[in-house]
């Protein structure tokens, strides 16, 4: 979700096999640069595989270039990484959020499982509660929110959405990304 000079990205904490909850502390957001985060939903094994693979690629990028990866660059890296497996895809639908340190501008985008990028100005949703998230985000979000208001908006949107989805929930994690500050918050949410 985009705010005024800030970005927020949030995820729930459930890991389940169909109806059975295996873990209630399984974060789905990964950090790739000081102000660049990637959320991954989908098949748990591919969430781990893709996040590890990207960590390797981003580390190599940082060593080669001697600078942090920009959100836009990471977006293209994610896209090409996923498209490499066009005919045997990773079953994930990533969401990227960050601030470009050169321009200072917020950047978010989403992907399908084979790497098609969805650039959005407002918000990106993904996962089993995506329909619910579309509803809450479309209803609650407004342009140019301050970091505090953006935190409240994304939290309310996420919690209300996952409470209407049996496969999501069990707490949430929220990151508020500003140009030179990142705030991480844990939300308890309903435990059922």
């Amino acid at each position: 979700m985009v705010g005024k000079d800030c970005v927020a990205i949030a995820c729930d904490l459930r890991l389940g096999m169909q109806a059975l909850t295996v873990s209630n502390n399984f974060p789905k957001i990964f950090n790739y640069a000081p102000s660049t985060y990637l959320g991954l939903t989908g098949l748990a094994t591919d969430v781990a595989t893709v996040s590890d693979l990207l960590r390797y690629k981003v580390n190599m990028y940082r060593l080669r270039e001697e600078r942090n990866i920009a959100p836009q660059t990471l977006a293209n890296l994610v896209s090409s990484t996923l498209y490499e497996k066009r005919f045997g895809p990773f079953f994930v639908s990533p969401v990227l959020g960050g601030i470009n340190q050169t321009t200072g501008k917020p950047f978010i985008c989403g992907f399908d499982s084979i790497g098609c990028i969805d650039f959005a100005k407002d918000f990106i949703v993904s996962g089993t509660a995506s329909e619910q998230l579309f509803g809450t985000c479309e209803g609650l979000w407004e342009p140019d929110l301050s970091p505090e208001d953006l935190f409240e908006t994304i939290s309310q949107a996420l919690l209300s959405a996952v409470d209407r989805d049996a496969l999501s929930g069990w707490g949430a994690q929220v990151y508020i990304i500003e140009k030179d500050k990142v705030t991480q918050r844990l939300l308890k949410g309903r435990q059922d």
Binding site: G135, E138, G139, S155, Q156, S160, R164
Partner: protein, 260 residues
Amino acid sequence: MTSFGRYTSAETVGYSFSQPTSAPNKEHSFYPYTDNGGSTLGISGSDFAILAGDTRSVAGYNINSRYVPKVFKIGGDDESGDGAHILLSVVGFAADGQALKERLDAVVKMYKYQHGKPMSVRACAQRLSTILYQKRFFPYYVHAILAGLDEEGKGALYSYDPVGSYEREQCRAAGSAASLIMPFLDNQVNFKNQYIPGSGEGHALEPKKAEPLPRETVEQLVRDAFTSAVERHIEVGDGLQMMVITKSGIEEIYSPLKKD
């Protein structure tokens, strides 16, 4: 003898050039339902209830019409609906919705003629459940919402599944965009996940109590819910039909929605 797929030939000699002597029987089946899309939404207040629905009717990716109402007055004049004191919204299969509305309308009118008093919303709600359950094995393929004012003059809202299971609620969204609208309503009408600032530390925070909302607020929430649903759901759009029932009667408000 060789058999070629699903063609069963009466011929016993399997020449490669032999043609099946009779055309294979293809089974035709008639599916009695279609999904006409759209969404409805109802919210009750302290002295009113609102039922709203978009007016688009679809079949697959086709738009049949941009104005097919989903909210009806029950028990009023056939033409104008005057004198009605109950509202019904139906979403799903439009033909069943129409039929159901006609049935309920007739029932409510017969009740008035036979008993000399208007049917209470509570009685009507139970009757609607019975009507739906009577067709348990060939259901009216609709999600119905019934609205009116209860014996105390408070807003009453009842929601149904296609076979008559029902419940009185504060608010309910139904139809194709229900999954988009319902969590928004949980948050904005029942204040789910909202707490009173400064009422406690951490987990001791006191949840914000849900209270009946004023009419202006509810009307705005309905508009917001539908403009949001229109943005993200292709089956919702064209027009928003809102009916507000108060002790002074039923008010109908139509406002356009995006037609894309």
